[in-house]
Each structure stands twice: as C-alpha cells, then as structure tokens.
C-alpha cells in the first residue's frame, strides 16, 4: 500500500448499497436480498401484515412510515419474496433470513400463505407515480397478475382491469369489487412503494381528491371481508401530506389515516450504526487494517472521554473512514432531515458530489493518521444542497435558520467555514446533550491537520473568530456553540390556535382582508357611451345586510360576492345604483383557503419582529397560501356559470340573470339599462369623477370663460388646449353655446342631435330647481344627477350647472354659506366646484300681478340712477343682484355712515341683512320705505321713495369728500378755488423746516405728486386721520375735523414765521398778498405778491393819487377802487382778487369783485 494510492482501493462500500432498490425492477432477484439485515422493525412489519392476512375478518391496511433511505424498499423486496412460490429461489432466501431471526414470525408467514403456498400469493407491488390513486392501484393489480400463471377466470379479470385503466372514468366501488374478486380466487397483497408521491398528487389535485381518498377508505374497509392486505410505504404520516389543505379536506384525510394502521419504520440508533458499519466491505490490506485498528482504539477512548461510550473500537473500525462524530450524527440526521435524493446509503455508497465514495477516490492513505470523513463533509452532503423543507415542524425551522446563516456568511476562510458547518450540523441533530457543539467536541472533530485546523488549539481559535464575527454564539452555561439562535415560536401549535380563533370571524371579513376584489369595468358600455363605468366588488355573507350595499360615490354599481349558502336579502337601500349578486354557495374550499391565508397573516403580525427565522418562514407560507386562495377564487368564479349564480338586486328582489356571459358583459348590460339617460360627453379628461390637476385647471379656464365672455365665439377660447377640447365636447357640439340668428352668441338648453343626450340631464336639473319652493343644496343636485338614470360625472356637473345658471340668470339665486350671492364670479365658482355642499340654489318663478309691478318699479328706479345700468332685468334675482351690487360697490364709508336720510339707512340695513331675495323685495324694502298701494294696476310710491334713498347712499362718499375739502380750506385759510395748487405752493417753502412729525406729514401729503385731485384729497385726509376716508366711520370724520383744524392752524403759524424769517434775512420788510384772478371762463390764476416795505410808501402815494382821479371818473371812492382793480387785473372780463395780508398770526381777508 503506498501513500499515492486512493483510499478506494482499501475500502469500498458494498455493491448493493450503491444503488437504490426499485421494487418493480428488483423483485424476484436474489442479490438485493442477500445482505439484508433482518432487524427488529422489518420483522415487526412482516409480522403485522402476515398476521392480518392469516387471521381473516380484520382490517388489513398498513401505512409503513419511515425516513428516506431507511430501507423501506428492501423491506418490500423481503415481503415480495416471502409471498413468492414455494419453490422459488427468493422465497428460499427470505425464509432462511426470517426463520433465522424469528421463528414465530415465519410461522405467521406460513399461516398467511395457507393453501396457496405452492403458487404463492398475488404480489401486486408497484412504485407510486404522480397519478390518481385509482391508476396506481390498477397498475399494481395488473402487475401482480402478470407475474403468475393465470386461470381463465383471472385472465378475464385481468382484461377487466386493463379496460378500467384506460376508461375515462371508473367508479371507486368497481375497483374495490374487482380486487376483492381477484383476492377471493387468490389472496393478494397490494403494496405501493413511495406512496408519498400519490398522496402529494391527491393533495394537489383538488377535483379528483375526493374520489381518491374515498378509494383508499374503501380499500381499507373491504380488507375486513376480503382476503387481501394493503401496504403503503411513505416517509411522512398520511395526514402530514394534507397540511397545506383547508380544514374540511384535512378532516377527510384524517378519516383515511384512521383506516390505516400506521407502522413506524424507524431503527434505533444502535441498529443504524450497525447498518452503517455493515455498508462497507472489509479492509483490503493488512497493514492498513492494523493502522485503522490502532486509530479506532484511540478514537474509542476519546469518544468515551467525551461521553460517547456506544462507539466502541470494533464499530469505529467497521465504520472507518467515518470520524466518530460524523458517524454518530448520521442516524439522527437521516431520520429527521432525510430527503428523497440524499439518503444514508447514497451518502455511504453512491458516487456523487460530496459522497463518501467520491472522497475515498480523491483521498490518499496515511498510515500514521488514517484520513477520515468529518462533520463539515456530512453537512455538505445533506444540508447544503437541500431545498427548504416543507413542514411546520420545529426541525424544519431550525434547518432553515442554520442553513440560511451559513449560506449567507460572507468572507470566511476555508477553515472557518469548515468549523462553522461542523457546529451547524451538531446544532441540527442535538441541542444540549453529549452531541452538543462543545468546545472540546468540535476541537476533536475538526482538528484534521489541514491549514487553519491543524490542531485542537487552532480549531478553538477559529471558534473564537466565528464568535467575534457574530456567526456563533457561545452558551457558557451549557458549554455549547450555536449557529442556531433558535425560535421560541411554536409554529404548529400557533397555526392550530389561530385556525380555531378564526372560526369566530365572519368569512367575508377574512376574504376582504386576504383577497380584496378589484372593480369590474363595464367595458362594452363604457366604450359605447364614452363614460368609463365600473362596479365595486366586495365579499359579503349570503345574508346581505344594509352595510353590504353602502358604496363609494365614485362607483356606478356594486358586485357582491356572496359566500355561505343560499342568498338571504336582509336590507333595503335608497341607493338606486345597480347591484349584482354572485352566489358562491358554501364554497368550503374557498373559505378554507381564505382561513389558512388569514391564519398565516395573523401569525405574521404576531410573530416577534426580531425572530427573523419564523418571520421568513411565515412570509413564505403566507405567500403560498395567498396564491392558493387566488386559485380557489378563480375556480369558484368559473363554477358560477354552472351554478346559475348571477343575480341582480332590483327593487328589493333578486332576479336571476343569464349566465352565458362574462361578469363584465353582464355589468355592461346592466349599465345600458340603469344609465339610459346618461349624457354622452366625449372628453376623457372631463368626463370622470376625479379630475387630474391638468384637467381641473382646464375646467377652471372653461368656467371662467363661460362667465367672462359668454357672448363671444368659442367663449374667446383659442388654440388647442384641453379647455378648448372640453368646450367643444360639452358646449359647442351640444348646441348649448350657439350663434343666434342675429349673429351674437348665447348659452341655452342643449339643441341639435348631438346635444340630445344632454337634454334629460339639463331638463331634470331645471325641474329639480323649479319644483322646489325652497333652497336646494348644490351637492344634492350633483348627487341626484350622478345616480341612475343619469350617471353624470362630477367633472361635467359644474360645467352644466354653470350653463343652466347662465341661461336662467334672472330666475335662480345662488347662496354660499347661506348668504345670497349677486351673480356668478370666477372665485365663487372655484369654491363651488370644491365644496358644493356649502352652496344652495333657489328658483324664483317669473312673477305676475302685483309682484310683477313692484319688480318693474324697482327696475325703473335702478335704471334711473345716474351712472346706473340702462336696463335692469325685472326679475327677483336680477333686482336683488343689482341692489346687492349697488351696496357692495359703495365705499366702506357709504356702507357704514349714519349721516344719511333715515330711509337710506333703513334700506341699506335691510339689503345688507337680507337672506331671501323675495322677502327683501316684497316685504322688507316696502316696509322700511313706507310704500303704500297694492300695485295691481295702480302704481305704488316705491319708485319715488327708493330713488332718493339710493341717491343718498351713492352720494354719501362724494359728500364726505366735500366736507373734507371744506374743512381743509377752512383750516388752512385757503382762499383760492384751486385748493390743491395753492396748498402745494404754500407747502413748498415749508418742506424740511417742520419738526412736528404730524405737521410734517401734512406738508408732505400736500406736495404729493402723480395724483388726481380726488386722490390727492383722499391722500391728505388719510394722512390727517391715519385711515383712508373711503373706509372711515363717522368717528373718523370727527377726528379728521379736529386734527385738520389743529394742523391747519399750526400750518399757518409756521407759514407766517417762515415768511417773517425770510424777510428778516433779506434785511427788508415786506408783506405778501395772494392775488387770484378769475377769468370769465372760470379759470383762476393765483400769484403770491410780495410788497417790500421800502416800496410801500411810494406805491401808496401812487394809488392814492390814482384813486382820487378815478373817483372823478366813476363817482364814489368805493366804486373807484373796484374799477381800478378790474382794469389792473385783466384786459377784459371779471376780476376777482382775494388778498391775504401777511405777516400776521391772524389774517384779514379782503375780497373785491369787479
């Protein structure tokens, strides 16, 4: 033996372990049985089956359950051989095996064979496939019959069986009858290996499941009376294949499971260890044998020291090349985590990645230290490649966690990874106990001399590194490393608990939460009418309560998915929108699927946030459950057709509907009927409930254009924007906005063929308005029009309403927050569109008789106001609007002052306080104006009382400005008619010389530029009173008068001082006189004339002389003086001078007129 040669030359697995047994292929061959070890569990199964066959009149159905690779198929071979003809080679071998191990058992075999010993019994043995159970059973029967020579009768029965296999449908009972018939001729054993596949197929099939489960039940039951036994081999208990199913199905499965006697095919650990040791051929080399023997002695001592005394040297030598730790984990590992493709024996004997034979091929011999297979290799074979396990067991949870953590660990060195896997594997098979991942055990198991794990110390160093990386946790109290943090969440129990709780929760609620339904669109109808209509879908109980009929305003109808049996109608509704009811019936499968999904959803909420293992598992299962629920819903919806489950709810009655169409088709038909009077509006942006912001902007522009320029072509809109498209769709193509015969444009009721579809809505809106003697909320109007038969969209409604209001302007009053609004304005409409619930409408009939006369008098009075409109519409709304506008147009002062005629004050008060137009016009105003006369042919005195009151109101502010001006004149002593020019000129020399801030304000204000005379006056007044006169109260006027008098006086004093100072500065005294000359055309020219004291004397003499001479001409001295002034002032016309003497704190004023 050289060190270069492969270990495979030294030791190899026994041939028969190298491939899996196949019952159909290997039956009748001897090799597969030669090395069979007739251990306890095998004999137990043989004993039970044979006893039941021999006894008669007992149920003979067995479910043999054991993990993958536990040798179940070999057991089947043994059974097969034990039933074979007496003379056959395999029977002889089987007999020797069983008789040697347990004579009592063999006795029972003989009893079971009974009279048929020579020919043997019928051995109907097959391996299951994914197919209906009935097929598998027939296949087995045919296979059994083919193995033996047949009587004519059996040939006939075999033909019968073949017919059944190919028939499209077979009654369960027929199959059972056939088997019983065959068995009555020749007893038989029906054995199905890998029956798990059948069960998975049944669990996944849904429709045929019931028949299959029934067949199994029948087979088991019939075995009481007929001489046959049924044996199934699988790796999970029958019921465990149904964990994904609904509760009702699980009950059915439980019944089947109850019929089969469950035989556990699990070996104890010691036997499994023996089996492993028996899997290898003896060592081929004496030197090697000695080396392995020495190794096994050492290893056994170490094992014992670590608390594993069951590993004696003989066993270890037999099981070499497995390291003791690798050996000892295998029994538990395969029992708990065995997978179809990864069995104990495939690991030991089959070629393939990470298996023992491959390792043997690749590894070189070392006599000092015989190489061994270690824990990480076992991990690589069993754990790493496996997909997630599908079971709720705690074992699966642990598996997922460990696998995920190791898989996700990044950046680890080879040696670290090896150690991590070893710990993970130990965690999988043991938490606590002797096999726990203690420091010493891992050290011993993994110190293999390879880089990084050379020695026990090196391994311990790796362990500490992994701990520092957070991949391992060290549980000091139990001396154990853990990859698995463990979840305390007991999933299986929790699922059952929640399932139980959910029985109290109404099914529709569960469905709504787990499978909320999307709306169904009435596609055909929507296309034909240009209005997208959709019905909301929702789950309800079969007892339809009021709440089920409550729908959002945005939908056009409802589809109720009613679950739970025949429909019971328990509700009435005012809502006229159509309702469709789909009757699902009990739909137990659907309900079960929903409960399952809900249970997992609830658990996902309950699960601790940091327990990511359980959360991940729950999330996966929940996703699966949701998918399964969707499948169920689809199936049930499809089934509706056959159940005739379409209804509509009309006037409290359920009416069955034809089922030969889709839900969308049905909903379209219903929409055709329900929304027969809906307008066709071909504009997708507008014709909907919720407008996009772009569409809302376009509609706003359209509405503003409707108000601003109703009499212009296209409302003055231009271009190709969305507002133009809306205009065309709603207003132009429908004839609502149209050209009159005289060429002008107007808004009116829809016309032309194109507008026909809008006529019902238009007419109904008018009817709603005119049939009510009281106010009507705009939101109620919209709501009514949104309901059948109109189905008007919220996007269109405000546009149509605006048109109705425009074309009936005199008759419809609009209120916001209860207040009458005089006319539509863009801002008002903007608010109305947003909050129609705050707006009301009221229609006023065109009046006749006395009222009509009064209205005409109002109109007459308003038309005669100076600057008023030439004509006022003599309708209630027209008059009130004009009055309200009149009052609103007054400056604030006009709306507040009490300085008016009492009639004007009273009129203003009733208009401002009015809430109802008719009450205002026909009661309040006539009352406060003291109107007498009934009208009715005679005229009342309304007009003659109203007009002065209106004039008084209108004149209030101009009157105020007059007062302001007069007071200013008085205060400043202005003496020219052009007060502004005078004061500007007088203020000019004072600028910059005023210290008193209030006087400075006045001086500044007087010299303000860029203003017309009224604005100048208002500005000055504002500066004096601190508030603009337009918003004055009467008290402000009083304050102004006081202030202006004081400031005016101060102004004049300062003016005097300034002039005096200037004179003094010049060193010469003078006096100043303002000379104003009024021309014949009314124009004034003012000049301030300064006369120096030095010249005064000379001038006086000149004047005295002139006066004397003039007196001679005109007569009196007074006349002479006037005449001279006139001649001086102008070449022609009248001359007026206002002369103010200065200086002086008091002034005298002289006035001369020509």
């Amino acid at each position: 033996m050289t060190e270069e040669s492969s270990l495979f030359d030294l030791r190899r697995p026994r041939e028969r372990f190298a491939r899996a047994v196949n019952i159909e292929r290997d039956a009748g061959t001897v090799q597969a049985l030669t090395s069979f070890l007739p251990v306890g569990r095998a004999l137990n199964v043989v004993d039970r089956v044979m006893t039941s066959l021999g006894a008669g009149r007992s149920e003979s159905a067995f479910a043999v359950t054991g993990p993958y690779g536990s040798g179940k198929s070999s057991l089947a071979l043994l059974l097969d051989a034990l039933l074979a003809p007496q003379a056959s080679q395999e029977f002889e071998l089987a007999r020797s095996l069983v008789q040697g191990a347990s004579p009592a058992t063999f006795h029972r075999v003989q009893q079971a064979r009974g009279d048929h010993g020579a020919q043997g019994l019928l051995r109907c043995f097959v391996t299951a496939q994914r197919e209906p159970v009935s097929q598998t059973v027939l296949r087995a029967l045919i296979a059994g019959l083919e193995k033996v020579e047949l009587s004519d009768q059996l040939v006939e029965l075999r033909r019968h069986a073949l017919d059944m296999r190919t028939a499209t449908s077979v009654e369960t009972r027929e199959i059972v009858n056939l088997i019983a018939h065959v068995a009555s001729i020749r007893p038989l054993v029906l054995l199905i290996d890998e029956f798990g596949k059948s069960l998975e197929a049944v669990a996944g099939s849904g429709a045929t499941a019931a028949a299959d489960l029934f067949l199994l039940q029948e087979l088991a039951e019939r075995s009481i009376t007929a001489p046959y036994a049924v044996v199934t081999l699988q790796h999970l208990a029958i019921g465990d294949y149904a964990t994904e199913l609904g509760s009702r199905e699980r009950r059915e499965w439980a019944k089947v499971q109850g019929r089969f006697e469950e035989l556990s095919y699990v070996e104890g650990q010691a036997q499994t260890l023996q089996l492993i040791a028996a899997a290898f051929e003896p060592l081929q080399d004496e030197a090697a044998e000695a080396a392995v023997s020495g190794w096994s002695e050492r290893a056994a001592r170490s094992s014992a020291a670590l608390g594993l005394p069951q590993l004696d040297a003989d066993l270890l030598a037999g099981a070499w090349p497995l390291h003791p730790t690798a050996l000892v984990v295998l029994p538990d590992l395969v029992q708990r985590y065995g997978q179809n493709e990864r069995t104990l024996f495939s690991f030991l004997a089959a070629p393939g990645t990470a298996s023992v034979p491959e390792w043997l091929q690749a590894t070189a011999w070392n006599a000092q230290e015989p190489p061994v297979v270690r824990l990480h290799q076992v991990y690589d074979y069993f754990v790493a490649p496996a997909t997630a396990m599908s079971s709720y067991s705690a074992a699966a949870t642990r598996w997922v966690e460990i696998d995920t953590r190791i898989r996700d660990a990044r950046g680890l060195g080879e040696s670290q990874l090896r150690v991590l896997k070893a710990v993970g594997l130990l965690n999988l098979v043991a938490a606590g106990g002797e096999l726990r991942a203690s420091r010493s055990l891992v050290g011993w198991a993994m110190a293999d001399g390879a880089p990084g794990t050379e020695t026990v110390d090196a391994v311990e160093q790796r362990l500490r590194e992994l701990e520092a990386l957070g991949l391992l946790s060290w549980r000091a109290f139990s001396d154990e490393y853990r990859v698995w943090h463990g979840s305390d969440f007991d999933l299986r129990t929790a699922v059952e608990r929640v399932r139980e709780q959910l029985k109290q929760v109404p099914v529709p609620e569960i469905l709504e939460r787990n499978a909320p339904l999307v709306s169904v669109v009435a596609a055909r109808h929507s296309h034909a009418t240009a209005t997208l209509r959709a019905f909301a879908c929702r789950w309800t109980s079969n007892r339809i309560e009021h709440s089920a009929l409550d729908a959002d305003t945005a939908v056009d109808g409802l589809v109720l998915f009613a679950v739970g049996g025949p429909i019971v109608l328990n509700a009435e509704t005012e809502d006229s929108r159509p309702v469709v009811v789909l009757e699902f019936g009990e739909a137990a499968d659907l309900v079960g699927a929903a409960r399952e999904a809900e249970a997992l959803r609830v658990l996902l909420e309950e699960a601790p946030a940091d327990d990511w293992v359980i959360r991940r598992e729950l999330a996966e299962r929940h996703a699966e459950a949701r998918a399964a629920l969707d499948v169920e819903i689809d199936r049930n919806v499809q089934r509706l057709g056959t159940r005739k489950g379409f209804y509509t709810l009309e006037e409290g009655q359920l009416l069955q509907q034809p089922v030969d169409q889709t839900l969308s088709g049905l909903v379209s038909d219903i929409c055709d009927r329900a929304y027969a009077l809906a307008p066709v509006v071909r504009n997708e942006l507008l014709n909907r409930h919720q407008l996009s912001s772009q569409a809302a902007k376009a509609r706003r522009e359209l509405l503003e254009a409707l108000l601003r320029s109703p009499h212009r072509e296209t409302l003055g809109l231009q271009g190709f924007g969305p507002e133009v498209a809306m205009y065309r769709a709603v207003l132009s193509s429908t004839g609502i906005h149209r050209r009159r015969s005289d060429g002008s444009w107007e808004i009116g009721s829809p016309a032309d063929a194109a507008g026909e579809s809008l006529t019902p809505v238009w007419t109904h809106m008018l009817e709603m308005l005119s049939s009510q003697g009281k106010r009507l909320r705009v939101s109620d109007v919209f709501e009514r029009l949104a309901a059948p038969p109109f189905g008007l969209r919220e996007g269109v409604a405000p546009v149509l309403l605006t048109c109705v209001l425009q074309s009936n302007a005199g008759e419809v009053a609009l209120y916001e927050h209860g207040t009458f609004k005089a006319g539509l304005t863009p801002d008002l409409l903007e608010r109305l569109v947003r909050n129609p619930q705050f707006f009301e409408l009221r229609h006023f009939r065109a009046d006749a008789g006395a009222r009509r006369h009064l209205l005409e008098e109002y109109a007459d009075a308003l038309a005669h106001l100076p600057g008023g409109r030439r004509s006022v519409d003599p309708s209630v709304v027209g008059i009130v609007s004009a009055l309200v506008r009149f009052i609103n147009a007054l400056p604030e002062y006009g709306r507040r002052t009490a300085d008016l005629s009492s009639a004007a004050v009273a009129l203003r008060q009733v208009v401002l306080r009015a809430t109802e137009p008719d009450v205002l016009l026909f009661e309040d105003i006539p009352r406060v104006l003291g109107v007498v006369g009934e009208g009715r042919g005679d005229r009342t005195n309304l007009r003659q009382e109203l007009l002065p009151a209106l004039q008084s109101l209108r004149g209030a502010y101009p009157g105020l400005l007059c007062t302001v001006r007069e007071d200013l004149v008085k205060a400043t002593g202005a003496f020219t008619s052009d007060v502004r020019v005078e004061l500007e000129q007088r203020a000019d020399p004072l600028e910059g010389k005023v210290l008193d801030p209030r006087l400075a304000t006045l001086v500044k204000a007087m010299s303000a530029a860029d203003l017309d005379d009224d604005a100048w006056l208002e500005y000055v007044a504002m500066m004096v009173a601190n508030t603009p006169p337009s918003s004055w109260r009467d008290a402000d006027l009083a304050r102004y008068r006081t202030n202006v008098a004081q400031l005016g006086a101060a102004f004049r004093r300062l003016e005097a001082l300034t002039l005096e100072a200037r004179a003094a500065a010049n060193g010469r005294g003078f006096s100043a006189v303002l000379v104003t000359i009024t021309q014949p055309d009314g124009r004034d020219t003012s000049t301030l004339v300064r006369v120096q004291d030095a010249h005064r004397h000379a001038l006086d003499r000149l004047v005295a002389a002139a006066l004397e001479e003039a007196q001679d001409v005109v007569g009196s001295s007074a006349e002479a003086r006037d005449a001279l002034l006139a001649v001086l002032a102008a070449p022609t016309g009248s001359v007026g001078t206002e002369v103010q003497d200065d200086p002086g704190s008091t002034s005298t004023q002289q006035k001369a007129e020509a």
């Binding site: 209120y815 916001e816 927050h817 209860g818 207040t819 801002d827 903007e830 608010r831 947003r834 909050n835 705050f838 809430t915 801030p997 400075a1000 304000t1001 500044k1004 204000a1005 010299s1007 303000a1008 530029a1009 860029d1010 203003l1011 500005y1019 504002m1022 500066m1023 601190n1026």
Partner: protein
Amino acid sequence: MRHVCGISGGKDSSALAVYLRDQVPDMEYFFCDTGAELPETYEYLNRLEVVLGKPIARVNAERPFEHWFEVYRGALPSPQMRWCTRQMKIKPLEDWLGDDEATSYVAIRADEQNRKGYVSTKPNIKAVFPFIEADIDHDGVLRILDEAGIGLPDYYSWRTRSGCYFCFYQRKAEWVGLADRHPDLFERAVAIEQKVLKEAGDAGDADYGDRGMKSRGYTWSQGESLPELVGRREEIMRKHDEAMLRAAKSRRSLPLVAVLGEALDDDSDEVACTVCAL
C-alpha cells in the same frame, strides 16, 4: 423699464425703500395686502409713505385668504405647503407687473447673503440686491430707519417679523403676544387652526374639520394647538424673558429690537418666509 420695490411692512424692506428714495426717482413702491396683516402694519405703511413722499401701491389679492382656505378645504398653509405666499403674494404681484420689464429691488441684507429672497422666475423681472452691493447689514438697516425718523413698526415690541396675523412662522412667544395685543385676531387664528372659518355667511361658520387631510392634525405652532400654547403662557414667557436676558448680556449696548430678535430665535430659528417678512 419699471423699477419696483416691495414693502412687506418689516424693517428691512422699509429701510430699503427709504434708502432708495433719492436714488431711483421713478420707483414704484408696492405692498401685497393679504387682508390679514396686523393693524400695526397698515399704520406703519402710512408713516412710511410720508417718508417716501409718495403713496405705496396696495396690491390686493383678488381672492383673499378665506377663498383659498375654502378651495384647499381647510388644509392650512405650512412651511411645506406655503400656498398663502404663492396665492396671496407672488401671484398678485406678477399680475400687477404683467409683462412689463421690471427691476425688482430685494431687501436681503449684507449679513444674510445666503438667504433666498423672492426672485421671480418670470423672465421680465430682474432682481437686484442694493443692501448686499452697499454692504448694509442689520445695524445699517436700523440706522437708516432711525435717521429717517420713522423707527420700527409698533409690533416690534412683541414680534420681529411682518406678515399675516396667523403666520405659522411665528414663534411661541409671538403667539402669546398676539393673544395679548389682538385677542380678536388670535381667536380667529384658533378657529382657522381647527379648520373653521368664522362667520362665513348667514349660515354661520364653515367647518372643514371632516374634510381632506383631517388626520394631519396640523397646528400653526409646532407640537401643540393654540389653546394649548396659550395654556402654557407663563412657561413660554418665562423662557422668553430668560432668553431676552441672555441675549442682552451676550453683547453690550444691543438695541432692544436685536435682543428681541435673538431671544425669539432661541425659540425657533426657522428662517421666516422671505416674501412676507423681509
């Protein structure tokens, strides 16, 4: 080319107006009136007009706060959704200017250059920053107002920023100030906070409490409603007084207005709206 200078009623823009009085002869002064300004502001504008020697154009929002409040269904303006500035200041101004070419004088001071004033995105409006160009800072502004003899608006005794009476940029102590000086306005602000427009019409108040964004629970002042805030009046004012004291100590001979400003910044240093409060 028009020359315009917006006046907010605050000290910076007022000082800028005074500063430019003799430099730009055909300057147009304007004030965007939201209709919700403090009475002190209107009064101060009158004083300012005297100093400027010409009237300040009142640019009135065509649709007042109440209108937008209803259009937004009681969704109050906030720093994140400042529709008040957009609808009541910027739009009216842009409408007023129309398509005229204009130079807009913005009152950002030299000591706050990183602030962004309102600079119109409209291409016909060009913004200039005279205080930055002339290196005029906070003290400079106070000096200009002082020399012009106009001083500060009266509200500076309790509030350092101009703007609407319910402005959400008010600091807690300023809200207390509003409650003290203008109880009627404070009461209206309380109602608006509860999404109620008082005396909207003959039908009484308009309540948007159950309308959109009702779960938002927005309050004018962060973290509490106005009634809650006023309930903490003593605590707020005590803190405010302490802050005043601290601010006064920090630098010697600080003008009172600066002390108030710093004390209020202690409360919240959120930068105020640069349109309303320059």
